[in-house]
Symmetry: C2
DNA sequence: ATGAAAATTGAATATTTATGCAATTTTAGC
DNA sequence: GCTAAAATTGCATAAATATTCAATTTTCAT
């Protein structure tokens, strides 16, 4: 279901271009854009987008995207490297193994390094295999979620 | 009553040095520092300090001071200039008149310029008098509040 | 010092935001 | 296509934060 991704994009635009200070307002705007959801869902969307609420320097607060929200062009291409090479990822305890297309392990591994996922402590690559060590306290679910949100976000 | 200012400073330190994600936690920490207030007061304090709540880049949120929170050393000395010279400030409509000790108008005016208060559109200085024009939409209350929060904050 | 205006605060409450849970939809593997 | 696991969502509600109002304290001009 691509629905949610579309909605997330629209939310991002709305937040970037308007001074919005509560979810109900944003909900209204979303409705006008053709997205009818509840406040609960919106709250989750905002969390997923890592939207913050910061002072307008005077007496109010408004939503704002994280600074590093823009994915730099170079970063985009690294994401492409990952997508192009990756085949599967599996775990055993704190370790993960990524299988890639032959010869792609290095580019994927390097790209992951650049993306600096907080869940990954370190990784090394062979020819079609990458070993990953999770950072203490992190779980494979954390990493997979991170992947989910970092990697798919490349359309455009 | 200097009480509140002390408290604001402590809050600022706590926020700067810890990953705090709700007011009750902060309330606890404040209690340990010797400040017993209610959540209502704390909420007001945070607003006054223009504290925001931003994503930790993963799954949580925490309080954060506005970027320009740090008062640079030079800025500190300008604040001193203001305090050293200023005698009174009064308003008439969109205009303000600051009286200073003889010969101090220029240093105060220059300092105000450096501080770049959003409420001030412009100002010119004589020998012991400064004229100020408020920015459109701003009131003398806004400016005085700005003074209140910017100027007293200099101990240390 | 004295009184009026402004500032500060707490208690109660309103408003805003997050989440547990169950229902529904989507995704993936066979 | 069929089924199990995962994702998405709404509803109800919990949790977090802001604000109203009244009381108290402080400031400031006489």
């Amino acid at each position: 279901m691509r629905e949610r991704h579309n909605r997330l994009s629209v939310i991002k635009e709305l937040i970037k271009n308007n001074r919005i200070d509560n979810q109900d307002t944003l909900l209204e705007m979303l409705k006008k854009e053709g997205f009818s959801v509840t406040q609960a869902t919106l709250s989750r969307d905002l969390k997923m987008l890592k939207v913050g609420k910061i002072s307008d320097g005077w007496s109010g607060y408004y939503y704002s995207l994280p600074e590093n929200d823009f994915i730099s062009e170079s970063e985009k291409s690294y994401i492409q490297d990952v997508r192009r090479g990756i085949i599967s990822i599996e775990f055993s305890g704190d370790m993960g193994v990524i299988k890639t297309r032959p010869g792609h392990a290095n580019s994927v591994c390097f790209a992951l390094d650049v993306l600096a996922l907080p869940e990954i402590l370190g990784s090394i690559a062979g020819d079609d295999t990458i070993f990953i060590i999770l950072r203490e306290g992190m779980t494979k679910e954390d990493l997979l979620e991170s992947f989910q949100t970092r990697i798919p976000e490349i359309k455009d």
